[in-house]
Symmetry: C4
């Protein structure tokens, strides 16, 4: 066992020239790694000379250190008796922790209750990362309120004793039409992280898409998969393609992962101010806006931007899909389509592409981007044949079972939840995620039965009144009178 290192010694290494941090009781020299850190050097320099474990742990899957640093970078164990008191986490942003008696999960009746409970229990930084969305949160809120604009059309005198909630995606049966969308950094909510979400999905026999930025490895997440449990793996293609190829090679080996979900709606990071403000809330303001080297940090920041580091913004239909074909045989689904034109193009790429997720990234990419309901209605209007060629699912804004049946009635095969699952995890770990799925399942069943369908797959546009939404749906470019009919809306890139 190596000699213990005093904290005073560590504190001498706080510059770009020599930068040490303490992680899990070990002192690491990360000087050479600084320029390669996906989140940028500054984020490390702010922690130089300190114990970075609390900041590092929930956002890095196991193995990250070992993969990225040579063994020699580990200098040795810290002398714990020399460490100062742990700094309190009061520098985080978000709501104040609540000291009231804890509400039991069973008494949380809806997803707002769940979010409120998670907000009380989570760190401010984690809350800010989950809660945040682009700019003024217009799309985030619209994702939800657009469902309130749609009215149900219940039928009477229909036997609705039972309602079959099962659906399928890419041929895999799901017991409920609700799945977990790729959502990063689950361990910010709870130590069970993405593995915990997987346990809840197993119980309800539904699908989970694993975020490219999960806080656990894919192997960890799927290790306790049940029979027939369905996972997808989300890919953000890296500028350094080799990294993506290595990752695909790992994923190819995991049978539980049935498809690759290529995310397209965030080639550059949106501006998530709630998340970014965290950077400026520190104990010593005078120091806060400078990096360890003394250079002032300007604008941006937060967990969201760090995660985008290395993402390739140059993807195209003609280059990326063929490259992907070379590196995996798993089917591809495309995530983040927001207009019918792209859905139309995607349908030209079967059989490699087998599904699409209509999504505006939970309102976290371009603010004022349309909700998935608009894109569903655009596809119905201009190119309904897409529904026959691809499995179409949606995410964003789902809070109620009535939202679920409305999306299904418009042609979605299932709906994804992101924040819902993460806040469930924050509210109660695995049981919290289960409670979220249980609430949505029960509400969906009630809504479907009141609509008079025996199976959710029977739901169609006859069951809903979408007039209030339809009049806002894209109707072709403004004032271009020469273009009419279906062609008016269809704007397929010439270079396709």
């Amino acid at each position: 066992m190596s000699k213990l290192i005093d904290y005073a010694e560590v504190q001498k290494h706080t510059s770009r020239e020599s930068c040490w941090v303490i992680l899990y009781g070990q002192v690491w020299d990360v000087t050479n790694f600084l320029p390669n850190h996906p989140g940028g050097a500054n984020i490390i320099l702010k922690l130089a000379g300190k114990d970075a474990t609390e900041e590092y742990d929930p956002i890095h899957p196991p193995g990250t250190l070992e993969e990225n640093l040579p063994k020699s970078a580990c200098i040795g164990p810290i002398n714990p008796t020399t460490l100062p008191q742990p700094v309190k986490a009061a520098k985080d942003v978000g709501p104040e922790p609540d000291t009231q008696v804890e509400v039991p999960l069973a008494a949380m009746l809806n997803l707002d209750d769940i979010e409120a409970a998670a907000t009380k229990k989570m760190s401010k930084k984690g809350w800010a990362y989950y809660y945040s969305a682009a700019d003024d949160l217009v799309s985030k809120h619209f994702n939800n309120t657009v469902y309130r604009q749609i009215l149900l059309r219940p039928r009477v005198f229909v036997n609705c004793k039972d309602c079959d909630l099962s659906t399928s995606f890419l041929g895999h049966k799901l017991d409920i039409p609700i799945f977990v969308s790729p959502a990063a950094m689950a361990r910010l909510a709870h130590p069970d992280g993405e593995w915990g979400i997987a346990q809840a999905c197993k119980k309800f026999h539904t699908m989970q898409m694993i975020s490219n930025n999960a806080s656990m490895t894919p192997e960890q997440i799927v290790k306790d998969a049940g029979p027939g449990q369905v996972f997808g793996w989300q890919l953000y293609v890296q500028t350094e393609r080799k990294k993506s190829e290595d990752m695909l090679a790992r994923v190819n080996k995991l049978d539980a992962i049935k498809f690759i979900c290529l995310t397209l709606d965030a080639p550059v990071p949106g501006k998530r101010e709630d998340d970014e403000r965290g950077k400026f809330i520190v104990e010593d303001t005078s120091q806060a806006i400078k990096d360890a080297g003394g250079k002032e940090l300007k604008g941006g920041g937060g967990i969201g931007q760090s995660l985008f580091f290395g993402t390739d913004p140059t993807l195209t239909w003609t280059e990326t899909l063929p490259w992907l074909k070379k590196h995996t045989n798993k089917p591809i689904i495309l995530k983040g389509l927001q207009c019918h034109e792209d859905a139309y193009i995607a349908a030209q790429h079967t059989p490699q592409v087998q599904g699409i997720i209509l999504s505006n990234h939970g309102g976290r990419a371009a603010d004022t981007a349309p909700p998935a309901v608009h894109t569903l209605l655009e596809i119905r209007k201009y190119c309904p044949e897409v529904f026959g060629k691809l499995d179409v699912v949606v995410d964003g804004g789902i809070k109620r079972g009535t939202d679920v049946v409305k999306a299904l009635a418009l042609g979605a095969k299932a709906v994804g939840i992101g924040r819902g699952a993460l806040f469930g995890l924050g509210a109660g770990g695995i049981e919290g995620v289960e409670r979220v799925l249980e609430i949505l399942r029960d509400e969906t069943a009630t809504a479907a039965r009141l609509l008079g369908v025996a199976k959710v797959t029977e739901l169609g546009p006859l069951h809903i009144n979408t007039r209030a939404v339809e009049r806002d749906v894209y109707d072709g470019p403004a004032n271009l009178p020469g273009i009419g009919g279906a062609m008016k809306g269809l704007w397929v890139q010439a270079k396709l």
Copy 2:
């Protein structure tokens, strides 16, 4: 007289194996009844070993004990000197009681004043049961605000000295076009209960529909009926059909009951969170979420769900109406139609079916279901002949006389109030219900006179401007261009 039983003895019987409760001073052994309780066993187990009278009384009509339990189940009278102090009812949910000076009924100028007064006087549990609606209360609020979207078109220079407010329903004359819809559990508001509502209706010579879940027996409710007073009796068909058949047999004998109101809009219970939360608000939180047997209670609950116990969700046009014909000669009206297609089908079932109530169950079933005004406009648009074949009435959201005249102008023969009558009862017993009817009658007369009609039966679509509503009314399934005109909207189930 049997020997007095000590409270200490009763408290020993609190399990599924032996469960005693005190009711009206008598100790009952309800162990064998537990699995048969319409509200589920848990609700009884929570009261095991205690005096349950306060909880039991307002929601069970007289005779319930006798009908459901053998004489032997009555063990004997409790020794009152051994009883603890009555537990205070502070565990209920809802607004805090107000200690201000009581406002006289005459100073309550509108239905909001009435509701505010009732809210102050009622138990929190009763308030929560009445106030609650499904999910986010979208339909409950829309039921009311949709009337604000309609503008009146007053005419001038018309003799409006008098205005005849009378209307008819199934051939029975009503002095005012406002009736009381079936609304359960009136004794939660006031000991006079549904009988009290009947007295007020007698005074105004209008119609009352008796809830299947009334807190009094039909015989009690109609016993003081005036000459020509009109009652309907609401039927929730029970899975155990024999129960419904027995009940119909009783009702058939009551001449004051002129028709059967078959309720169709709630084959499964909606999710009424204000009501359900009551279950989790108890003095001892650690115990609250378990039943007496120690099993945790999860989700749901409340009075609303209990009442649905036993309701048959398998009703159909082809099976249920013929069955009903066998068990009653009274005419049938159907309650809870929410789209023109079902109104169209109902009109095919004359003469057995003679009327329909357009209703979304006060927003208590499917949230975001359309208000009755939408359904009226749908019928006008797609199948106006329905108005000639059936007596159409509506309920939900009526707060003002202007609301009443708008519904009549669109073709309704009368409008029903549910919460309005119950809150009137809560605010002042019989006189409170009378005040509610008086307010609505006077407001209706004022509105009709300002519109320039001598009789409310003259009201028609020329008297109102519905453009702001019409553009939201169902216009056929979204983006199905092949279907047009009247056919576009008419979606009659193939299996009819």
Copy 3:
């Protein structure tokens, strides 16, 4: 001089059998007058045995006592030393008086400032009478917000050095296109009352319509009229026609009164709850809801309802106009038209009828009645020829000069203010009314110049964008497909 009467003696006469009140220091026996009081007997009985001067004075024009009571009813002077301390007026309803330093009129920049200042200075009862409107104040607020829905279309490069604001009505020139609509009970705001409003109108050379329920006599109001000053006199036809005929005879003699304004929009009183609540706010609640005879007072009340006493609700085109012709040679204008059909009919009655006021009575009659802007747009849509036959003016909701130019652009020759003038009076007497007219004049001039017109009479529909309003304007009866085009909207009573 008669013997002084002790207060103790007066207090003995508080019943229907013997009812005395003190007015202006004299004791009157009003027992025989009780059944004839326009406001009902109860309102007097509540003041029986007391000094009623403070309640009586601001709402009765001089001469009222002498006209209605025989000399013998005056018993003699009260002995002032026996009177109790004057009761403080704290029983009134409305906002609390403000004790801040008074704001100078010049610092009140808009009509909201004026209303706020008047609210602070006026009695609560007076405020409630002015502020109140029917039911939920929907029409009152819509009267104003509908103007915000219309956009201006300013033109540039137009010489707008001067702008001629003058207009005409029935051939009489007005220097500004803003007049004072008939508004009752001006002395509730200020002792100068309607005479004070006349002085302000003289200064701005504009028109005033005298309310049938003015708190001063027509003779008093017009006595200081300037040269060419224009008055109209509002007529509510009384059931006791003789009263109206006598009044017309008086008015016929006054040259300053150029026309009769026959009010049609309030044949029965609307329900003005702010006004009515005043009745129930008294010092001794137990007594408040009974009249002096011990009978409980139920519902309604307030100044508004009292004023309607005696109004004839049987007026018709065919009976009333010929009767009126017999009793006056002055031209007639009709107030309160709210749909194009009635405007169309009015235009058939030239030359007796020469103008119309589109008005919903300030939102005080039928709540959810359309604002005058809707009626203007209806007329433009269905029968624009009306503008050529009649002088059309509007009132209701005017708060800004931009509102004025919008009404003019749609065809109104001028706009009336009601509450604006009354609150001006309350805020600062004559100078307050002048300030109101000055603010609106200056704002109107600014708006007209920015639109690029040299005279307000040049304003037309090209200067405004009304799309947001037009889509809500009446489009014919809902779903009556057989009726189309102009006929769709035109619903002329068969009995015309």
Copy 4:
């Protein structure tokens, strides 16, 4: 050096007959100048006998004294020892200064943060001048919210690694499509004033239009211009044309000024109440509403109205443009067009007129005037050829990069900010303006990349969904059925 003058002596000269003020330590006799002061005599009389430097300095460019007063008017230096303590500025209107720790510029993430910071640091008078807009601020707010009504239509699988943000105006290249609109009185925010704004524009290589009412001379503002830096100079034509001609002669000599921006949207001042209220907030209320001569000041006032003094409201297409041609060879752009008709006429005046700014003067002229987005859509609808003939830019309401791309997608070549630059100056001087430009630049780049364009000049109506706005855009005069199609909207003045 002249003899020092005692403050007591100065204080004797406070009337129209003899009026002295102290400016920059010198005593001036301004008696003869009183009738010529652009802001009116009153504003000087209020400061008569006092040190006026604090009021005078930020709103008068250097040289103003020398240009307007003869040398003899300078009486001599004040004796500083006789001056009273400087009066504190607490009489200003606006938010209370904040005493919290200052937020660093980098932590201001958006333009609202910037405005909040400036509001805390600026004088209340300066804040009120910047913040204020006409009447009820309807147009000011609509300018911003109309952008929220437009949805983006992001495309996926497009290489968006880089995005070229450059655009051009009148042939001059700008690195970002965001420029500074003419905005008066920059030194109210910061001593660096308009020169400071110029430094920030230099850094981002973008355009600045210099306000006619700048608080610095054009020579001062452009003196440190970078190579290729583009300025425009705003002209309010003065009634006293000679003044405008002299000013044009000065401007003609400045090469950095590339064009003249003739402002047309404010021939008369709007009513900016926040600004005007400042006049009435003084220490001694009794005196506040009188001028020094004892005459009461009525209505209006504020900085805004003062600045309009002398502006010529008689400009016309036929007179003003030829006059302008005689006095400058620089190209002309017209500012303040608000309807397509005027844009159409402007396009007839090439080549003298080369560009237009669609603007409602930041909502400061006619309230309820349309936002520039409406005018863009009007031009697209009725006369899209205008975009080919003129460089069209917009200002008003820009707060986000998404707003910028939406305006560009509709045909604008760039967008202007006014308050944004001024509040940036208030928040942090030159660096504050830079931070504003940096925020908008980064947000614009993010939005453009997420839309999938490689250059902002590729943006077009296909990238946005404007349906929610289009239905409110002018559709021709209301109910004039005879006029249709493009002609319906086109209302070109006959006198053109």
